[in-house]
Each structure stands twice: as C-alpha cells, then as structure tokens.
Amino acid sequence: MNNLWQYRVRNVFSVTIICLSFLIVGIFLSLSNNLQYTAQQISKNMVIVFFLKKDLSEKDRNTIGEKLKKSSEVIKTQFISSEQALGKFLEKFPELQGIVNNLKINPFPPSFETTLKEKILSSDETQSFIQSMQNMKGIDDVQFNKDWVERMQSLSRLAKAVGFFLGGILILASFFIISNVIKLSVFARKDEIGILRLVGATNTFIRIPFLLDGIIMGILGGMLSLFVLFLVIKLFPLYLGSSLGALNELINFRYLSLSQSISLIGAGAVIGFLGSFSSLAQFLKV
C-alpha cells in the first residue's frame, strides 16, 4: 500500500488505462443490453398487420376477420380502417399534418391488427398460419415484427462481440501496463526482495504486497470505469438533446446489470493479480 502512494503518478496512469479499457467494454455491453431489451419488448407484443386491398368488399373483409378470430394462434384482432390509420399516424407525427393534407387521397390501406400468442412467432404453426392468410383473397401484404426482433438480437450480439474484441485488446494492454508499472516498483525494491529471500521469506510472502497493489489498481480501474460509464449514460442523451427523435429510444443506453458490473470489477482484480504476479517472477530467483 505504501507503494501505491509512493508511485502515485504512474499508478494513476495505469488505473486510468484500465478504466478506459473497461469503459470501452462497458459501453458496448450497455449498447448490447439495450438492443437485447428492445428485442424483448418487441417480441412481447407480437403484432401482425394484414393490409387489405383498398377496394375490398365488406363481405370479403368479414370472411378474413372471421378466419382471424377463429384461429388458435390469435389472441386479439382489430379492424383499422383507412381513416383510423391516418388518424393514428397524425397523432404520432402531428408536424406532418400539412403534407398529408396536401396528398388529397388517403395513402393508408385498411388493415387487421392481430396480436399473436407470445413468443411463437417463429414456430411452424405460426409460420403456416401466416402463409395461409397471405394466400387469401383480398390480403395485400403482411407486416410483422419478427424481422425486427431478429435484427435487434443480431445487432445486440454484434455490439457484444465488438465490445469484447476491442475490450479484449485493451484489457491485454492494461495487463501489460499493470505488469510493467508493478515491475518498476519491484525493481525499486529488488534489494529488499533479495534480503527477504536470504532471511527465509517464501515467494508468497514476498509477493503478497505487490499482488495487493495490482489487485487494488485493477479494482479501482474497474470501479472508475463503471462510474464513468454511468456518467456517459446519464449525460449522452442530454448532449444529443431531442434531435434524434424516435431513434433516441434505440440508442438509449441501458446501465449494466449487477452481475455484469461485478464481473467487470472482478476482471479488473484478476488482471491486476496476473499483471503483478507475472512481473515478480524474474526477481524471485536464487
């Protein structure tokens, strides 16, 4: 511990490097968490929209409606007329009122909005149900959010992978930095280590203070990175303001889970331990 204070400048340097490395991992982890969360939210409300042909007769429309209601896959189904669709759109994007008014015609087709049973979107039954509906007369197009779910999930995986890759490289770098920083303080005390060995100290006895230094540096770096990550997550939306609009929801960072935070700090401790362990080896001879 004396050491930590004695060599504070270079220790602050190495803690900063560890912190930055973990910050990179943390940012990508948080991004990945958010995508994962969004994907989950979407798949909870499995809504399929069946768009109908504009000139569909009332009879054909009722046939489709009946079939949807009877299906065992469906929880709820609701008819949305062209006018209702337009109304919904204007509710969401009131600033586009002028453009829509200029269009003269209503561009929104009538549709059935159908909520399916949870999490069965990719199942065979659901697939064949959608298939059979698609072949029905009067249905123009089917839109459902399976693609979105999958896209989110793969983006989430990508973010995690990038995070671990970049983070891995940086963590390797911080391992070498800790190792070298500790090596400097070991070197400054190599006479003392030699004397300790000559009076019968075990290697473990000699190592412990240095290992503690390394572990403390690693933990400090890890904790600091969590704190900075917290600030980034809090301040990032403020900085961007509302300019992102709907995208805001997607880039909205989600803080790390407790187990992720603990793992990050734990990884810091492990790196500190290994870094200082490796730096001592050459001084424990003869």
């Binding site: 006479d191 004397i195 060995r197 000559l198 009076v199 019968g200 100290a201 006895f205 424990l284 003869v286």
Partner: protein
C-alpha cells in the same frame, strides 16, 4: 553438517575464485575461514547459503544437496541459517527493530513474541537503546551489530558470518565472538570468515586457510 565436495568457482575467465575446495563442518563445529583479502572467503560463504552457484562441485547440508533445491523452496534452507553479510544488507528505509523483526515475520511469529525476541537479540549485541533508530544514523560498527542481531534472533542451527567483527573495536569483537560461541555451545554450527588472528587464536577450533582460492591447510586445535 555441511559438506563441500570439489567446489570450483569462476566469475570471469581465466581466474578461479575457488579451486577444488573440499571440506566438512560437523554439527556443533566452530570454524574459522581465514586468508588474505580476495582469497575467496566471501565467495565460499555465498556458495554455502546458495546466493551463487559453484561452477563445479557439490554441497550437502544436513544430507540435502542444496544445489538441487528449486528457487521457490530455498527458503527452507535459509530458515536454518543466520547470516551476517560482509556488506550488512540492512534495509535503510526501515528501523533497526523492523530490520531484525523481518526474520521472525516471515515465519509468521506473533507480534508480541517478535518484540521480546528482537529486544533480546539487540541486548546481546548491546544495541537495544538504538532499537527505533534508522540504520543510516548508526556508525559502521553499530550497523554491523544490527546485522549480527538479525543473524542470531531466530537461534539458527547454522551461523555464517562474513568478517562480523571487521568494524568493531577489540573488546566488542571479543564480546561478539563470545556470543557466537555461546550459541555454538547450544548446538549450532558456526562458520566465521575473518583475518583477525587474535580472535582465531583465542576461539579457534577448526581453521581453514584460503589463499588465491585454494584451501591451503586445515588445522584442528
């Protein structure tokens, strides 16, 4: 028992710091190694506590070939030894007390016992009043006595002392030798390098004469 078999040591070609040294110190022996400066006394001691390796030869201490002990286990050999280094090797950023206590700390001895034993060891070398000083504030002779106290504090089975009285006045040197002799009487093997003939004449039991790295003769008085 310390046995050396055909020990050769070369630091740089072509000189040999030690050539073909064979000797044996029995348990409870009180040995002197003497010889002019540069004759290889320090080298011989360093080989015995395995700070350096001989170029050739074998050393057996208590039936253990110490050249085969791996680095991470050598502490068990060192714990049986009390060593007074020619250059003292004190920790200058630590107080006298801590310099001596370290020998007991590495053994995991309780703090209270450490205090008592360090005090006793310092009293034996008549330096207990300097317990809380830093070595840098002590004279050479006093530093040497700290080194001696550190070597005897754990009542070791083997004492290796490299010119332990080199900086002491004759009376004090005599006292220190008596201290070693006392420990020797309790069963410890003692090997002392010195060129103080007066001391050898008075305390000598087994004497080894070194000259230019060769063992010239052994005398048992």
């Amino acid at each position: 028992m310390i046995e050396l078999y055909h020990i050769w040591k070369q630091y740089q070609k072509p000189q040999w710091a030690l050539s073909d040294i064979t000797f044996r110190a029995e348990r409870g022996d009180f040995c002197f190694i003497t010889g002019p400066s540069g004759s290889g006394k320090t080298t011989l001691l360093k080989i015995i506590f395995r700070e350096i390796f001989p170029t050739q030869g074998q050393i057996v201490i208590n039936r253990r070939n110490i050249l085969r002990v791996p680095d991470h286990k050598i502490y068990s050999l060192r714990r049986t030894m009390g060593i007074v280094f020619q250059d003292f090797r004190l920790l200058f950023h630590k107080r006298v007390f801590d310099n001596i206590a370290i020998v007991l700390q590495v053994l995991g001895i309780a703090r209270k016992d450490i205090r008592r034993r360090v005090f006793n060891a310092l009293r034996m070398v008549n330096l207990h009043h300097k317990m809380w000083e830093y070595p840098a504030h002590l004279s050479y002779g006093e530093q040497q006595r700290v080194a001696i106290a550190r070597a005897v504090v754990n009542s070791p089975k083997i004492i290796l002392a490299d010119e332990p009285t080199g900086n002491l006045d004759p009376e004090l040197a005599f006292e220190i030798m008596s201290l070693f002799k006392e420990i020797n009487k309790k069963g410890a093997t003692v090997i002392i390098c010195t060129h103080d003939r007066e001391l050898i004449r008075h305390f000598g039991h087994k004497i080894f004469f070194l000259y230019k790295g060769k063992l010239l003769r052994k005398e048992t008085l």
